[in-house]
Amino acid sequence: MAAVTSVTTTATRPGWLRQMRTKTRRLKLPWIPVAIVSTLVICAIFAEVLTSVDPREINMLEARMSPAVISEFFGGADANYSWSHPLGTDVMGRDMLSRLIYGARTSVLISLVALSFGMVVGTTLGLIAGYRGKWVDALVMRFADAALGFPTILVAMIIVVLLGAGMLNIVLAVMLTVWARFARMIRGDVLAIRELDFVTQAKIAGVSAHMIIARHIFPNIVNTLLVITSLQIGQVILLEASLSFLGLGLPPGEAAWGIMVAEGRTVIVDVWWLSLLPGLAITIVVLAFNFFGDWMRDTMDPKLRRA
């Protein structure tokens, strides 16, 4: 026996560096999505550093300039572009690159806030519903069903009627649907965990309900929580963009990708880059988050693969 063990260890003893490398390789991190998401986050945090141009600054003299990165190579003789606006300008002469970078900030900010609220509310309700069961569970789940099934746009519109358009309302509208997804999944997990022996043991020992939830159940749902969150980000960004596009969120002129697409809509034939670029940004970012979410789910919890 001893001989065997020594054989195997000498044969495959990696240095810690190699161990790290094999570990990351085994994780099979999706590099492209990770790079895209990092870029987005960097844009959101360091917008002022990355561009010195004010995204709201109107300059009618420099309006409708086409993206230099394209026109330099493909533009005809009459192409109007300048390298001071690498991605061109909009109908008001605002710099597209700067607007896109600040738009990233808007997206990240709104999605993050809405998602966090949704997560906290949904997780809390899911925990309570799953642990308490009976009528509490039935009530929470009925509301979750209604929220999940109900068209978000209707919810957003009711909120806009209620409070008027604005950033807070987008957050609210998104939150009102997102919480239900968290509540549903968490409740399902809790129902299973609740039956496990260590919970019964704690109950027998007379531990209070909220202590059981906090100490014994919550640590076991963290994985699920991370997975749902990463799967939801893309959808939330998309939702935010749709609401902004419809003018239900930030006031027009603000740097948000949805608003930018909307601004380009009426002039799509002449000023095509106005809608194209922000829409592309949304698609790429949502794709990246979706792939990242899929990867998270596959690595952290293969059981969730079907959900």
Partner: protein, 324 residues
């Protein structure tokens, strides 16, 4: 009995899985034969290749990752591995059939058990339509299901686990196959129902002269049901013996360890015996004997060479260097 020709003969069967991490040798050179009316047990830990051996015989290795790459499966002298898909379909159910592990899920939840029985009968009966229902009811009563006339209209979820397993049995024998493979067929049933089910299988065997391959990890079932036993480890059959010999004189260290890990009521033991270590990953098999890393008797030769078959007694062989 020895003079008789075997109904099923498996020679050097190899089924490999091609995965990203390497080739997994799930079945690695398995050979055995099965006589008419005989019951052969295949035992081993989970992941030792028992189920994959069965699926290879049925020609139902999960595609595209898995593939039977070598060997012969001779059923009445015909090699099943050479058959086309449609030819195999004619053989499955009629000449050789299988009962899967889980009675809860072996029946399709959206069709009645009658529907699922009749569809099997329809495939093989020339008499189309008429009399099928009567035959189905007949089969249900054969597996001792009470009031089969009403049960035939039931959906699987309306039946108990034991009853579902009987229905599965009825479907499996409906084509009067020569060979029946039962893959952990009673594992998920509780003890009394398990006993009744085994009893039923033996009666059916007595009536029809069916040969059974019993795949299990339960030595109690082996003792009750089987004539001969094959022990599998890491895709290979490491010991082969008539059931009495195996219990009296386990020769391979792995068999010995398996026997010791079965709790015995008669003996007073302070501690349950468990085999040290884990079965090897099948894509990274050691060069020599795959059991060597866990074997208490390991010596130098075991690490370099796979042991040849050693005859220990009449019809009793084991692959171990220690026995030479």
């Amino acid at each position: 009995m020895a003079k008789q020709a075997p109904v099923l003969e498996v020679q050097d069967l190899r089924t490999y899985f091609y995965t990203r991490t390497g080739v997994v040798k799930a079945v690695d050179g398995v050979s055995f034969s099965l006589m008419p009316g005989e019951t052969l047990g295949i035992v081993g830990e989970s992941g030792s290749g028992k189920s994959m051996t069965a699926l290879s015989i049925m020609g139902l290795v999960p595609k595209p990752a898995g593939k039977t790459v070598g060997g012969k499966v001779l059923l009445d002298g015909e090699d099943l591995l050479q058959k086309s898909n449609s030819e195999m379909r004619q053989i499955r159910g009629r000449k050789i059939c299988m009962i899967l592990q889980d009675p809860m899920t072996s029946l399709n939840p959206v069709y009645t058990v009658g529907n699922q029985l009749i569809e099997t009968l329809r495939m093989r009966e020339d008499a189309r339509g008429h009399g099928l229902k009567e035959r189905a009811i007949d089969l249900l009563s054969k597996v001792k299901i009470a009031s089969p006339e009403t049960r035939i209209g039931n959906y699987p979820h309306q039946m108990s686990g034991g009853m579902r397993q009987r229905v599965v049995g009825a479907i499996a024998i409906s084509g009067s196959p020569k060979v029946l493979i039962a893959d952990e067929a009673t594992t998920s049933l509780d003890a009394t129902i398990q006993y009744q089910y085994l009893q039923l299988l033996r009666e059916l065997q007595k009536d029809t002269g069916l040969s059974i391959i019993f795949i299990t990890h339960d030595f109690g079932i082996v003792a009750k049901m089987c004539d001969r036993v094959a022990v599998m480890y890491a895709g290979k059959m490491v010991e082969f013996a008539p059931v009495r010999d195996l219990f009296n004189k386990p020769s391979h260290p792995y068999t010995e360890a398996l026997m010791r890990s079965v709790p015995n009521v008669d003996e007073e033991v302070d501690k349950l015996y468990a085999i040290e270590g884990q079965p090897p990953a099948l894509d990274k098999l050691p060069v020599g004997c795959p059991f060597a890393p866990r074997c208490p008797y390991v010596f130098d030769r075991c690490l370099h060479e796979y042991p040849t078959s050693v005859t220990v007694g009449e019809n009793h062989h084991a692959h171990c260097w220690k026995l030479i």
